[in-house]
């Protein structure tokens, strides 16, 4: 008996759901493998074109979405004339100083504390509850407390940013302590190493990948908190610029400020990635 119907392959969904054999030089089944650079470029270009198209065709009022040209023009104007009597560069510098000041402070305190928490049950027992308590609270919620306790000066601004960076840095350093293989630690001890030497020569270097990741995550939180921090009686800074522009419905300044913040954050992240490749080329390879 022969079946007169033509043989049917598996359905289109079944075919899409299954991975095909890979090309030589690639490894079969690695999740998310492939270069995304040109796709990313295309994605950015498409978004820009869409933005331009929407405004050029007059589909949305400039109050809601200003055109790319007007944002660019605003950028040039503020670059020349400043914003609320403060030069643009000063806005950028003051915000960068706040974020990086808080970042440096958070690293200086958070890295040793996180490492100590990973190494010592005593320190972990003491500091784990307060950090876990405040970590999930949105900075805006404790912003009033910062103002009541520390006034409206730089202290409360930097402190707010500091707190948002501090928790991820501590957690990263703490879990980084667990990265060293027990064999590496045993090897050091068997050469007569002291606890301090094991810390310095084995645990700290092997924690570097996690520490660098935590720093990247942390600075991201810092930029996220910037606008909240500059709600506090600020007269300069990118967050302040965005906030006050929004009150005067200067949407193009808002968008321009967002782009500047994103650009600085992105540039720093690229620098961290570069550092990562230089400092821990062995990451995930042993």
């Amino acid at each position: 008996m022969t079946d007169p119907r033509p043989a049917k392959g598996p359905g289109i969904w079944a075919r899409l759901a299954r991975a095909r054999a890979t090309r030589p030089g690639e490894i079969y089944g690695v999740p998310g493998q492939g270069n995304t650079f040109w796709l990313s470029v295309a994605s950015v270009l498409a978004l820009l074109i869409l933005w331009w198209l929407v405004t050029a065709l007059g589909l949305v009022k400039p109050l809601f979405v200003p055109s790319p040209q007007s944002v660019l023009a605003k950028f040039a104007q503020i670059w020349r004339e400043g914003f609320t009597n403060t030069s643009f560069l000063e806005h950028i510098l003051i915000s960068t100083a706040r974020v990086f000041g808080a970042f440096v402070l958070a690293c200086a305190i958070g890295l040793p504390l996180g490492l100590a928490m990973g190494m010592s049950p005593l320190i972990r027992g003491i500091f784990d509850p307060p950090i876990e308590f405040y970590r999930p609270i949105p900075p805006l919620a404790y912003l009033p407390l910062m103002i009541i306790w520390f006034g409206i000066g730089e202290t409360s601004k930097v402190l707010l940013i500091f707190l948002s960076i501090f928790a991820p840095i501590v957690l990263g350093a703490r879990s980084g302590v667990k990265s060293a293989a027990i064999e590496q630690i045993h090897a050091a001890y068997s050469f007569g190493a002291t606890r301090w030497q094991v810390m310095r020569h084995v645990i700290l270097p092997s924690a570097m990948p996690e520490i660098l990741t935590a720093m990247r995550v942390g600075i991201g939180f810092g930029w996220t908190t910037l606008v909240a921090a500059e709600m506090v009686a600020a007269t300069s800074g990118l967050g302040y610029m965005v906030l006050s522009a929004s009150q005067f419905l200067q949407t193009s300044v808002v968008i321009m400020g967002i782009f500047v913040i994103a650009t600085i954050a992105f540039a720093f992240d690229m620098m961290m990635r570069f550092l990562e490749r230089r400092l821990v080329p062995w990451k995930g390879r042993m």
């Binding site: 590496q184 045993h186 050091a188 068997s190 050469f191 020569h201 270097p205 062995w282």
Partner: protein, 262 residues
Amino acid sequence: MSLKIDHVSVIYPAADGRPPVAALSDINLDIGEGEFVVALGASGCGKSTLLNLIAGFLSPTSGGLTLDGRMVMGPGADRAVVFQKHALLPWLNVIDNVAFGLQIQGIGKQNRYRTANKFIGLLGLDGFQSSPVYKLSGGMQQRVGIARALTCDPRILLMDEPLGALDALTREKAQELILRIWGETGKSVFFITHSVEEALFMGTKLIVMSPRPGRITHVFDLPFSRQFQGGAPARQVKASPEFITLREKVLNIIFADEEAVE
């Protein structure tokens, strides 16, 4: 060099509702100068526990260990450990890994590089001094581990299945290399393996261990590594009738243990 293990027992305390486990029960073992003692046994027989005791990572529940008459109280540079894997430091290159023990002991860079280079040469790693270790093959990484263990001039080398992660061909070459180095340095060795053939070929003394409780059930004196050092080719040694007879005998012991477990 003399290591004495005297009536040592290790009992892991009860946990999660399970009763206490006797990992090692009444172990007696002497390792003398230049001896190559191989421990062999079914999984769970306490081979690694015994090595951890000698290394000083673990203290016995009862009994004692002495090295040259001194109690073993903790890890020390007189006993160097070669691990199966994951023990090299990937942020250091080959020479800094080999010199790591000397660095821990506070020896200056020039001196430690001179010593390290000697052992790098001995292990056939010349020319790879500045290579990152994570780019080396498994066999070469293991040679770096052995060189590192030797630099501090330990009284005894403790090797915890050092060749277990290597492919069969590399493994046989590494066996011969280790025997050659053992001959050249005259170190005492305590060597753990899962392979009966490897155990017989390499040791001067074989201890066969059984699980539940972990204990030494058989001890054999072995002539084969001396035959190899006397110039007999490895494959000829491994194909000799005495070797095969003993291999079958030991295999029977181990299979009986494995079946008893199941």
